[in-house]
Symmetry: C2
Subunit: 123 residues, 2 copies
DNA sequence: TAAACATATGAGCGACTATTCATATGTACT
DNA sequence: AGTACATATGAATAGTCGCTCATATGTTTA
């Protein structure tokens, strides 16, 4: 509580550029916003889901199509589609027994493209 | 091996829009590219790392600054900075004992912004 | 109604990962 | 050389996650 113990409990250092830190702190978005952002990228952070999204960007497909395309179990695909739907990245349409999935966000492709730019940068 | 077993082993369905699947298949990027893309987004998929990147987008900071800003252990931050560096998202500069980190990619902000657009879309 | 089939879902398992704790490395100062 | 300090790192742990397997749901057709 007194003198130098400004640095709280977590940070075990002494020298701090407090002006910089305070300046940055005021510019940071809300904690919750950054948390939501991380949650969104977590969804992109799996190659199965990336492949599904990429495929759906090309054409609307049913669960079975996707499973066949990616050579994976129908169950595995279905589970992942649920994740993607919760993240509001895909929508579905029912036609008899068959459920067709498609992209629900035109920004997905832009985000992917930006990611590709980064990947291709360092080669 | 005969007749209907076109659908391989993984996909346990029968009805498939093979034309669509084949068309999509030709348009899909290489497996490795999508894998790398997922790896990149995996790095973004953690709120600690997102916060670090956002902070560094505002100003260059030393490890201790970041730990103080985010109220986290120096060790935890250091571990995450290593991940970010391996992903070529941050670079560092040494000045005596202190190591300053900064963003190593101007696309990060654009990717974040696109992500925010998605998040804010459905409210 | 019964069989066939596309899809969804819950439980369980193995793999991965973020943090903590202890300690090592490297630099500055006395 | 020795102390102080900023940072890095390895091991251990707790929590998360993707897939599989079994099964449920819902729709079509006979």
């Amino acid at each position: 509580m007194a003198g130098k113990s400004v640095s709280a409990e977590r940070c075990d250092c002494e020298v701090i550029h407090e002006d910089v830190v305070n300046s940055v702190r005021t510019k940071m978005p809300e904690e919750e916003t950054l948390y939501d952002l991380a949650e969104l990228f977590k969804v992109f952070g799996d190659s199965t889901r990336i492949r599904i999204l990429w495929a759906l960007d090309e054409a609307e497909m049913c669960v079975c199509d996707i499973a066949y395309l990616l050579n994976m179990t129908q169950s595995a695909i279905s589970h992942q589609l649920r994740v993607l739907k919760q993240a509001k990245l895909v929508r579905n349409r029912k036609e008899g027994k068959v459920v067709y999935y498609s992209l629900d966000d035109e920004h997905v492709r832009m985000i992917f493209d930006q990611g590709l730019v980064h990947i291709n940068e360092d080669r």
